[in-house]
């Protein structure tokens, strides 16, 4: 029996692994290779220039701007999304108090659960186009159209450098919350009701239930959510590319690494430099994930 096992496993894996190696691993390896060249995308031959691209990167203001924007997103995207999602899923699952020994959500929670998930079903690019309309500065914009009715003048959501990144962040949160509501709901569903019962018998309020029971038992799920959202914060390309003024503007106020990679590769034909940015992004994402995993490690609670 044992002899047949490896050919059997390999038989199953060879196709997906080959596809993965060709389209993901090989592409990554080549990005690393190109980051040490000044390749401009039109010649079959490449010219190695050592670490020049990385040195240039270090002195590139736009690059640092993009990094700063990622930091803002990295802090606030998970924070807002998780807090909102926790709040909603608590209301949907436990917020209605307990009846007959079972915890319930608030009235109509089954309906809300579906509604919250809607944004997740839309392609990100569509979300971007929709919100570009919502934020539009003239009367055709959903918000400004309303404000203009009351003579409150247009708010330049995407055109004001101070507001633009936050406006885009709001869309990211809006789009993400639904998924995490479902994720946390599933997590809460797996918490044994006896624990809630016991706590309720001891006179715990809803607040205490949340902080002393729900949160600690959800820790693993939260951790996963944090990593997902953190990685999403390193992306944000689609929204910025479609929504922002002047692609990443006004004046670079919303630019992100993905956009700078795209711009350098496909607009400036600086594939080597763009690859160097890609390499930096790769390490940033990986170290973020590793770091989060380490810092938030706690022993899972046996249930």
């Amino acid at each position: 029996m044992k002899h047949g096992r490896y050919p059997f496993i390999i038989g199953f894996l060879i196709v997906p692994v080959a596809i993965y190696v060709t389209f993901v691993v090989a592409a990554y390896v080549q990005a690393f290779q190109l980051s040490f060249t000044d390749w401009r995308g039109f010649s079959p031959n490449v010219n190695y220039i050592g670490f020049d691209n990385f040195v240039k990167l270090f002195h590139d203001d736009t690059f640092w701007k993009a990094i700063r924007h990622h930091l803002v997103l990295l802090i606030f995207l998970p924070l807002f999304t998780i807090v909102l999602a926790l709040f909603f899923s608590f209301l949907l699952n436990v917020g209605g108090g307990s009846k007959g020994g079972k915890t319930r959500g608030v009235w109509g929670s089954k309906f809300y659960r579906v509604v919250f998930f809607f944004p997740q079903l839309l392609a990100l690019a569509l979300v971007a186009v929709i919100f570009a309309r919502v934020y539009s500065p003239d009367d055709s914009g959903l918000i400004n159209g309303l404000l203009n009715q009351f003579g409150a003048g247009p708010v330049l959501f995407l055109a004001d450098g101070k507001l633009a990144l936050w406006s885009i962040l709001a869309v990211l949160v809006w789009q993400g919350v639904g998924f995490y509501v479902v994720l946390f709901s599933a997590g809460m569903g797996s918490i044994p009701t006896e624990i809630y019962e016991a706590a309720a018998l001891d006179g715990a309020t809803r607040g205490v239930l949340f902080f002393r029971v729900t949160l600690p038992l959800l820790w693993n799920t939260l951790q996963v959510a944090w990593v997902y959202l953190g990685i999403a914060a390193f992306d944000a390309f689609a929204l910025v590319n479609v929504m922002s003024v002047d692609r990443g503007g006004p004046d670079g106020a919303t630019t992100v690494l993905g956009l700078e990679i795209f711009r350098n590769a496909f607009d400036y034909a600086q594939f080597g430099y763009a690859s160097a940015m890609g390499v930096v992004l790769f390490f940033l994402t990986i170290s973020f994930a590793a770091l989060t995993m380490r810092v938030t490690r706690r022993d899972a609670i046996e249930m």
Binding site: F42, S43, P137, D138, L156, P250, I261
Partner: protein, 478 residues
């Protein structure tokens, strides 16, 4: 400049596709595209030699039996001019040389991998929002020298070489370091567009001096019209074109030449500063800050609805807006008014340039065939057919004389003939894309975000200096 020929719909779709693709694959994408680096393309010299017998009907020495492959950008100009006008003309002389035409909305996606793989198509219309960096192509030695083409006799204009039949400056517009590599085929004039109806209804006339201009803007403002506007979200280059037009009129066309050549302090000349100051005031006083968040289609629609007085654009505007223009709107264009009374160039001077790039691959299978195809595009019949199908003029001088054209084109033609030889253009936006991006942001700052002329000049100079100092970017001069 050619980006605007793409229809708005196309732009949006391209954008979405881009967003989806790159959002998923930020890093691997770059590697993917390059998957074939080093995989092909031996540097053999199959290229630049006549392959067939040179004769008076075959001045370029095309091999009559080798097929020729062309790639046409499928945008606002369509692709019919090639398949219905130029290909039949080519096949009349070379019936055994089959023309294989590919149409695409994404030039770089389709063509770029073939350059890296070493089997490019013969003639490419490098245009649209996904066009390839022409300078980088030239730098990589992938582009055929078109000297022979311009020296060859015209297909149907007796006794003239191709070069003689073109509007002066055409060959130069496609020249990189003293060699003509690119044919810019469409001829575009730029100015401030307005509705003839709006003007005649109110008894307004096109101003030529700055004082008259601002007086008219005041009148428009009093009527509740936004006197002047451009779209900051994606079309601020229409506006920096206007600012630099003013600069050239104030200080002469050398101002732009110095900018193109990355001369020290070119952006900080008095002419540029004066122009930026004048336009910054227009932005602060006569425009609407909300336009910073609008796209060109949105502002152009407002213009069509008589809500915006003047809109800066090129002569494609009328065709682009055809389906949104109300009856009787009557598109008219005027030169950018003179900023000072001491301007070096007359009030009639304009920005006009050949655009829409066509080039031949030097390492393709049939470069001579590609050049011959361009010769047919540059015939009088080819140019006439192009203008009839696209409503866009070509660089072939007088090809549509006596033809009945739309009001906007007639107005543009009038402006061009009034300018005489006083027209000019710049190249830095295509040579150095980075400088183009900076100019867009700086212009938005100047016009909408309380920027000043000094700041505008300083930040442009800073990036120009950085480009100049960057060895990895090939420099061009004119």
């Amino acid at each position: 400049m050619s980006e605007i020929f793409g229809t708005p719909e196309l732009d949006r779709r391209t954008l979405l596709r881009r967003a989806a693709a790159v959002g998923l694959l930020a890093t691997p994408a770059v590697g993917m595209l390059s998957a074939c680096v080093g995989s092909g393309g031996s540097d053999d010299d199959q290229a630049d030699k006549p392959q067939g017998e040179v004769s008076s009907t075959n001045p370029l020495g095309v091999d009559p039996n080798t097929p020729v492959e062309i790639v046409i950008f499928n945008g606002g100009l369509g692709t019919k001019y090639a398949s219905d006008v130029d290909t039949p003309s080519y096949n009349k002389l070379f019936p055994n040389s089959k023309v294989n035409q590919t149409n695409t909305e994404e030039i770089a996606t389709v063509v770029q991998p073939r350059f890296t793989a070493g089997n490019p198509p013969d003639m490419i219309n490098n245009s649209g929002s996904k066009l390839m960096d022409q300078g980088a192509l030239v730098q990589a030695g992938q582009v055929q020298d078109l000297t022979d083409l311009f020296a060859a006799p015209s297909v149907d204009i007796e006794g003239k070489t191709v070069k003689d039949t073109l509007i002066p400056g055409t060959v130069e517009q496609g020249t990189f370091n003293n060699k003509p590599y690119v044919l810019n085929y469409a001829f575009t004039v730029f100015g401030l567009w307005y509705s003839g109806k709006l003007f005649s209804d109110n008894g307004w006339t096109a101003p030529t001096t700055w004082a008259d201009f601002t007086a008219l803007l005041d009148k428009m403002k009093a009527k509740g019209i936004t006197p002047y506007g451009y779209a900051g979200a994606n079309a601020s280059y229409y506006q920096y074109l206007v600012i630099l037009t003013s600069a050239a009129k104030i200080g002469g066309p050398d101002i732009l030449k110095n900018i193109d050549n990355l001369e020290d302090g070119a952006w900080q000349s008095d002419a540029v500063k004066q122009a930026a100051k004048a336009w910054g005031e227009i932005g602060a006083k006569y425009s609407n800050k909300a336009f910073l968040g609008l796209k060109h289609t949105e502002v152009q629609l407002q213009h069509d609805q008589y809500k915006v007085g003047f809109y800066p654009s090129g002569s494609w505007l009328e065709n682009e807006q055809a389906k949104d223009t109300p009856d009787g709107f009557d598109y008219q264009v005027m030169p950018v008014p003179s900023v000072t009374t001491a301007d070096k160039m007359p009030a009639t001077a304009i920005y006009a340039a050949a655009g829409e790039q066509y080039f031949v691959a030097s390492k393709g299978k049939n470069p001579r065939g590609g050049m011959e195809y361009l010769r047919h595009m540059l015939s009088k019949a080819g140019a006439k057919g192009f203008t009839e199908l696209t409503k866009v003029l070509t660089v072939v001088a007088g090809a549509t004389e006596g033809e009945d054209i739309s009001p906007g084109l007639t107005s543009g033609n009038k402006m061009l003939s009034a300018a005489g030889s006083d027209y000019f253009s710049y190249r830095f936006d295509t040579w150095y894309k980075k400088l183009d991006d900076e100019a867009r942001a700086a212009t938005n700052e100047l016009m909408f975000q309380g920027g000043t002329a000094d700041k505008f000049c300083a930040r442009m100079q800073k990036v120009a200096d950085a480009v100049k100092a960057d060895d990895s970017i090939e420099k061009f001069t004119r």
